[in-house]
Amino acid sequence: MRKSDEFILEARHLTKAFKGFVAVNNVNLKVRRGTIHALIGPNGAGKTTCFNLLTHFVTPTHGQILYNGVEISNYSPSKIARLGLVRSFQISAVFPHMTVLENVRIGLQRRRGGSYDFWRSERTLRDLDSKACELIDAVGLGGYEHMGAAELPYGRKRALEIATTLALDPEMMLLDEPTAGMPHADVSRISALIKKVAANRTVLMVEHNLSVVADLSDVITVMQRGEVLAEGDYATVSQDAHVIEAYLGSGND
């Protein structure tokens, strides 16, 4: 019955206080299964901290996190990833001195198991190659399989990162600014890619590019100074007086 629950991820009263500074304050967040949910807000609003808390890269001061109805607040980051809640990072996180193929294979390898086998040849990983190539093609990197990841241009590194994440076939993806620092042509490609991969999974993303947010998101949560300011679809949120003030406030003074 678990799978039919309406919400895949739920944060209750999530709070993180660093010394004398509350980065995230009593955030309640519900992510509906199968949607693309965007987290937006000005710089320093606590969006990335939220991501770090949800995946336990940072331990919350208090609050609860439920994933598929199970409390995961005390799980290690790697265990959370193994449950199917996989995150990306603000700066691209590929393995630079490995090839594109190896980068994707490392995701497939984790799912298959046998990663402690130090006595086996890496040739045993070749059965994963065809699946890896499929994923590489899917993100538009076909032909680059044997190129070192470090040599890829920035936009393509992000695509590779998504391919590696997809190799885990996660139920839910957390994307931290997937289009940040990208030229315009790449933005539309990544945005199309996100739409494609979100077809049968849930996506929660932090994003600054509002046209991407408007185009992709089913639900938008706006954060400011560690707190939730507003929530709803793009039309609702963009009409919200608090949101307009948060984004444009300084201009009107």
């Binding site: 980051p77 294979r105 984790r110 086998d117 130090f118 006595w119 680059y144």
Partner: protein, 323 residues
């Protein structure tokens, strides 16, 4: 942007790489097989022991990104254990080697379990602290005979058959152990586990976010490295019939770092070349006394400043291959 992105053919590096490495491997084996007929056999045997030690260290630092500053404790622990077993308990050499290696593995498990909880310089400092504690232990405990060490350990008969007091017999046994250890390390690097180890070196946080419990992988790497360092230590004891404080001293931990960096960190053959250079300097320039250390230091500084990839790393880079 890269021009014409669709279906450029990039040759899979691996098969070409394997061919180059195969040639280099055969060359290395040939050199060590001919060496005892050209030079005094004790020298190449010493080189092989240190080469295995450096390769084990390189597995941890070069492929796992873990800097241990106390690897001498594994070399020395295996040396003392095997020496005591062979001399006092009178076990055959194969059992002595096995006991020495196991002792190093066990110590690796304990030290590793604690050290991997911290990263970078703190990791290195924990290994250093343990190494100093082990040094003090071996200095004080009676079975090691303090400053004298365990001397005149009999080499015995391997599997009751091969008389290791025959110089050529012991030489080729050492060569087999070295080749075996070298191939084990090669396999570990080129295994599914080795792939994960590389991801930890490249970007540990990302490896965690993919669901890898990186601490367990680091611990396994640490234990493997400690065991192989132990195998080197036990073999060295067998060659010289001696286990002494030199092998557990901080200077030895530093020397293995020097060998690895000089030869080429993260290269397959680098540590072997590094060990050859350092041992050769110690052997053939021994009459210059402390000047050897000065020369080693200068070479090290020159290496770090001028060719940071190390000897093999630099050659591999020039020839655009992986060695």
């Amino acid at each position: 942007m890269i021009p014409a992105p669709d279906r450029i053919f990039y040759a899979p590096a691996s098969s070409v790489e394997i061919r180059h490495q195969g040639v280099a491997f055969i060359f290395m084996v040939a050199v060590f097989a001919i060496a005892p007929f050209v030079v005094y056999p004790l020298f190449p045997m010493k080189v092989m022991c240190f080469a295995l030690f450096a390769c084990a260290f390189n597995l941890l630092l070069g492929y796992g990104g873990l800097m241990s500053f106390g690897h001498a404790m594994f070399l020395g622990t295996a040396g003392y254990t095997s020496a005591h077993a062979a001399k006092v308990w009178g076990v055959p050499p194969e059992v002595a080697l096995l006991l020495g290696t196991s002792a190093a593995a066990l110590l690796g498990l304990v030290v590793g379990a604690i050290a991997i909880r911290r990263q970078g310089i703190y990791f290195a400092m924990i290994t250093l602290a343990f190494a100093q504690m082990m040094y003090f232990f071996y200095l004080q405990t009676p079975f090691t005979y303090g400053e004298d060490g365990i001397q005149t350990v009999p080499r015995g008969h391997l599997f009751g058959l091969v008389d290791l007091s025959v110089p050529m017999a012991v030489y080729f046994v050492v060569l087999l152990i070295f080749i075996g250890g070298f191939l084990i390390i090669y396999r570990v690097i080129h295994s599914p586990f080795g792939q994960v180890l590389k991801t930890i070196r490249e970007n540990e946080v990302r490896a965690i976010s993919l669901g890898y419990d990186t601490n367990r992988y680091k611990l396994l790497a640490f234990v493997l490295s400690a065991s192989l360092a132990g195998l080197a230590g036990a073999t060295k004891m067998l060659v010289f019939g001696l286990a002494s404080l030199t092998d557990v001293h901080l200077a030895m931990s530093a020397e293995v770092v020097l060998m690895t960096l000089l030869g080429g960190l993260g290269t397959i053959f680098g540590p072997v070349v590094g060990a050859l250079i350092i041992v050769a300097m110690e052997n053939y320039f021994a009459q210059f006394g402390p000047w050897v250390t000065v020369a080693q230091g200068s070479i090290f500084i020159g290496c770090v400043l001028a060719f940071r990839r190390g000897v093999v790393g630099e050659i591999a880079h020039r020839l655009k291959m992986s060695l």
